[in-house]
Amino acid sequence: MFNPTWALVMEMIIAGIAVIGLFAVLGLVLVLMERRVAAWMQIRLGPNRVGPFGLLQSLADTLKLLVKEGMTPDGSDKFLFNLAPFIAMIVAMLLMAPIAFAKNFQLWDLNIGVLYVTAVSSIMVISILMAGWASNNKYSLMGAMRSGAQIVSYELSAGLSILTVVVFSGSLNITDIINAQADGWWIFKGHIPVIISFVIFIIAVTAETNRAPFDLAEAESELTAGFHTEYSGMKFALFFLAEYINVFIVCAIGATLFLGGWMPFHIGHWEAFNHVMDYIPSSVWFFGKTFFLIFVIMWFRWTFPRLRIDQLLNLEWKYLLPISMFNLLLATAVAILGWHF
């Protein structure tokens, strides 16, 4: 009935709809989760009015944002101003492609998956700079510039800590990396170097996604809202959504590289134990690990105070980068000498 081209087009459309649907659900769930985690950590209750246990709160917020007016300020660069939120979303959508959500469930299994993720995630900064510049507002521009400096620097240590896992598994392909963890996740098999790089990775991606304690791009108390000060209605919501989607994506990458992605918890050659673990569906493993990492990042946000810009750059260039460089050397030595499990 369909020739191959049409079949491909249909496939693309279905994948696109699935990704957009996942975005919407993730946005609602993560916003609610963040508010609940924040409330519980501050000995509050959190949203509890809309729907049972306040579960419909983020849906009500979305509805409110949808009907609000999307203003474009007079002095702004109108084209760039309206383009920026869409670039943020498109980058988030592109990053969804190589993530393996479950066993044999992946949009695009390309052989340089890890490189693709690190490369595409750096386009994110363009949308932030674009939004800050086009707003014609000094706070927006200041936030965007800070964000630029921050993302460019923290990408280095994020990349180096990802490389540690690439060194161990010897592949850039996401599927290969996950399959290499069939007899134990890298964080257990690779012991010290992988644990160090995991910690550095979590710190660096917290900075890359502009979340507290590294939220200098927004910094409510200093810059009102940083690069999205001038945005309202759905355009603001797109930035907001992109932030949460990015948190999900980086946590999914972290879970894939260090905690085995969809791979169940396996211990070496304990066949019986491994078989029992295999009965838990792989998607449950993937989302469980990812949401655990998201919780850790939220835990950071509601515990630590915001850094100053000089402290932020000090942390990267004086601590994280040298440590991750030495760590990469250590990891390479361990991998070559076969000192891992």
């Binding site: 519980w40 000995i43 509050r44 835990w299 515990t303 630590f304 440590i323």
Partner: protein, 158 residues
């Protein structure tokens, strides 16, 4: 040694962050203790802090007597002219004239709840009440006469 200090810095930094995370983690897992009030629902059982300051009240006892001598110390202490004391002269049984308050006028709409009048009062006649539902439809309703009708000063207060 530079490298020793460097490692010590990293170690101490990580340790202090972990102490902070342990505290918030404790709160997260023990969320039965809630410090916020579910206000409109628990109006009857609302627990307010002792230091909460809602409005100035003039204390009256069961004989409709208060302790205000009309010295105007509170009026002088008030930074934004919230209190206005109108005095009159009572005739005591001995035939002497004695100063007393006619009206203790309190402008709630001007009050910032700074507590200076309470501190200034030499006879502890006024205090801060814990009421806070002050909204009214007419601004004039916020100007209150604090002394009750026919109230008088308690015996022995000078």
């Amino acid at each position: 040694m530079f490298i020793v200090k460097y490692i010590k810095d990293v170690f101490n930094g990580v340790k202090s962050l972990l102490i902070g995370m342990r505290r918030t983690g404790y709160y997260f897992t023990h969320h039965k203790e809630i410090i916020t009030e579910q206000y409109p629902d628990n109006r009857d059982t609302l627990v307010l802090a002792d230091r909460f300051k809602g409005e100035v009240v003039l204390l009256h006892d069961e004989n409709n007597e208060h302790a205000c001598t009309g010295c105007t110390a509170c009026e002088l202490a008030c930074p934004n002219a919230t209190i206005k004391i109108v005095t009159k002269f009572d005739i005591t049984p001995e035939g002497k004239k004695k100063k007393a308050i006619d009206k203790f006028v309190y402008h709630l709409e001007l009050c910032t709840m700074c507590n200076l009048c309470i501190v200034a009062c030499p006879t502890d006649a006024i205090k801060m009440a814990q009421t806070f539902e002050h909204s009214v439809f007419n601004r004039a309703d916020l100007t209150k006469i604090l002394n009750k009708p026919d109230s008088k000063i308690r015996e022995g207060i000078e």
